[in-house]
């Protein structure tokens, strides 16, 4: 899907966070991931906040003065198959988690450049990117 408007980008961000919230909530309940239960639960809570942030930013910063089209930005590169975290083994879940975090980070990095004209929005997107970077670090630090 093309993300060629302010609203499309923020809506995608909200949907992304909602999908990740649900993914980690399910992963936290998977018995094979007992050791990562707390980590996944914290990621889920953080994504719940991320979804609210994206929706709030979409509400508060839409202004008709700067509703100009954005060119050549597609969601295709940032979509991810999250599988079935309730049933998968822990290794698969962790692999999926690393993949989706990487894509989310790429999305937020690029989106913050696309909407740089609205500094409050760009700042919020950078903040969401920073959280994803921190998550990637935590996933990388897990014992293999």
């Amino acid at each position: 899907m093309m993300l060629e408007s302010f609203g499309a980008i923020l809506t995608f961000a909200a949907e992304l966070e909602a999908l990740d919230r649900a993914f980690y909530e399910a992963a936290a309940q998977n018995p094979s991931c007992e050791g990562e239960k707390e980590l996944f639960a914290s990621f889920s809570r953080e994504s719940a906040k991320g979804e609210k942030t994206a929706l709030r930013v979409r509400r508060e910063n839409v202004t008709e003065m700067i509703l100009e089209p954005i060119k050549d930005f597609s969601s295709d590169a940032f979509t991810c198959d999250r599988g079935t975290p309730m049933e998968a083994d822990c290794g698969s879940i962790l692999a999926t988690a690393r993949a989706l975090e990487g894509k989310a980070l790429s999305f937020y990095d690029e989106a913050s450049i696309r909407i740089k004209a609205l500094s409050e929005v760009a700042r919020a997107l950078k903040s969401l990117a920073k959280k994803r970077k921190a998550r990637i670090k935590k996933l990388d630090e897990l014992p293999s």
């Binding site: 060629e4 408007s5 609203g7 809506t11 839409v62 202004t63 003065m65 700067i66 100009e68």
Partner: protein
């Protein structure tokens, strides 16, 4: 399948109108009926005004800060219901969802601005105007005010006036456009959660009878109106005849001038939004594109190429840039202007007449349309079309462009794209319109600045929102006192 029927909101209750006559409300994208609106009667107006009049004394005695606190809570309620209001608006009016969100944002900004009543409504005083005699000018609320709203901004425009009327101690009767009654109905459902004293705000749906009922009612102290120039003039004249205060904002024919030194790459997106945003249905829309000097061919070519990329469709689709126009009748009107332009010899370089949208065969769509080599005296350069139709009038120099702007009769807004400061200063100094954009395609003042044009675009001298709006809704009582 039956559709919902709008009700009036009077004295804190949702009530049926005292009428047997109803109009249809349409979804412009689908071309389907989605609701019915009552054409209320003078009896309904009288009932609403009576409720507002009854509520006035107690509301007037409520401290301004307490009144402001209602607005603080209302702001939070509007944030909570933001997306729902925005989507309702798109469904009945047709604009793109981000445009609708932007409109709801502007509505909320007026509520926010109005909470500054404790500073903005203050008067002034002076001791010893003569020895031992003091004088104070104290703004006081006046009574019941009325609002008559247009179809193009069903959420925002009533709130250019209503929060200021209420927070300064007046009570209110609002008539939304009968073409788009659902948005304010939804908004009043939210307002109902606020638990204002009954009768402080009232909503009466309808058409001509409601307008005339409000104009004739002796207990309505003033009317705020936004709509076409002929109706604005009528309302202003009737208010004058009946001793009412009036602010009547009318139509427009806005020019957007692009100088040869303009940064076209940077400005093009906002130029497109200016002419085609909200399908051209706004009083700030660009209507005449004025390329100046020897770069005109390049400017027109770039503008046309960008216009061809505008995606037309259902406003609820986030990828859509431009929705339908509000009704089939209006679509025919816009098409009629396109025919007129061709008949008068303008060159049609982008034809939006046969615009179709897959999946929406009955929608009221008109695609981006551009006429080049338009002469200033052609119909399409003089009359308000209120659709996505651009008239390109080429100008030799800035004087030419300013002369074009100042001879339209309408004087709502004018925009200039340039990189030269001196050109910008001269432009804003000399043009008649009151809302000016410099490298801005839609010169929309924020809530804390006044909104309104001049000439045939504005009748009355107090504009919407801003600081002066409190003067419209108050009377300055001058008190001269001496104590023996």
């Amino acid at each position: 399948m039956p559709v919902p029927v709008m009700k009036n909101y009077i004295q804190g209750e949702w009530v049926d109108a005292a009428t047997e006559t109803f109009g249809d409300v349409w979804c412009p994208a689908a071309g389907e009926k989605i609701a019915q609106v009552p054409y209320s009667t003078v009896e309904d107006v009288n009932r609403a005004v009576e409720a507002a009049k009854e509520a006035f004394p107690e509301w007037r005695e409520t401290p301004p800060l307490t009144r402001a606190r209602y607005l603080f809570r209302l702001r939070d309620l509007f944030e909570e219901h933001f997306e729902d209001i925005a989507r309702t608006l798109v469904t009945e009016q047709g604009k793109a969802i981000d445009e609708s969100r932007g409109e709801v944002r502007r509505m909320i900004e007026n509520v926010e601005h109005a909470t500054g009543v404790t500073t903005l409504m203050t008067g002034y005083c002076l001791e010893d105007i003569a020895k031992g005699i003091d004088c104070a000018a104290e703004p006081q609320p006046v009574g019941v005010f009325g609002g008559i709203a247009p179809y193009n901004f069903p959420a925002m425009v009533p709130w250019w006036f209503m929060p200021y009327a209420l927070v300064s101690g007046n009570t209110y009767v609002l008539k939304p456009s009968e073409q788009v009654p659902m948005t304010q109905t939804r908004i009043f459902e939210v307002l109902d959660e606020l638990d204002l004293p009954e009768g402080v705000v009232n909503l009466v749906h309808g058409s001509r009878d409601v307008v005339n009922g409000m104009l004739d009612h002796p207990d309505i102290q003033g009317i705020s109106f936004v709509g076409s120039t002929p109706t604005a003039r009528y309302i202003y004249e009737r208010c004058g005849a009946t001793g009412k205060r009036a602010q009547a904002l009318g139509g427009a024919k806005n020019a957007v001038v692009v100088m040869s030194d303009a940064d076209l790459e940077a400005g093009l997106p906002s130029l497109i939004t200016s002419f085609f945003g909200c399908s051209g249905q706004r009083c700030l829309s660009g209507s005449i594109l004025v390329p100046v000097g020897d770069r005109a061919d390049d400017i027109v070519a770039a503008f046309r190429a960008a216009a061809e990329r505008v995606k037309v469709g259902d406003g609820l689709d986030e990828s859509v840039n431009m929705g339908p126009v509000v009704s089939e009748a209006h679509r025919q009107r816009v098409l009629g202007y396109i025919e007129k332009g061709m008949a008068e010899g303008a060159e049609l370089i982008l034809d939006g007449r046969d615009c179709t949208v897959e999946g929406y065969p009955n929608g009221f769509f008109v695609g981006p349309t551009i006429f080049d080599h338009v002469k200033p005296d052609m119909t399409i350069a003089r009359e308000e079309i209120f659709g996505p139709v651009v008239s390109v009038v080429r100008a030799d120099d800035l004087d030419d462009a300013i002369d074009l702007i100042n001879t339209r009769g309408f004087a709502n807004a004018a925009c200039l794209y340039t990189t030269h400061g001196g050109t910008a200063r001269e432009f804003k100094y000399r043009v008649k319109p009151s809302m000016i954009g410099i490298n801005i395609g839609i010169a929309a003042p924020m809530s804390f600045f006044p909104f309104g044009g001049a000439g045939d675009s504005m009748f009355g001298n107090t504009k919407g929102h801003g600081q002066e709006i409190f003067q419209f809704f108050t009377d300055k009582k001058v008190v001269i006192s001496r104590w023996f």
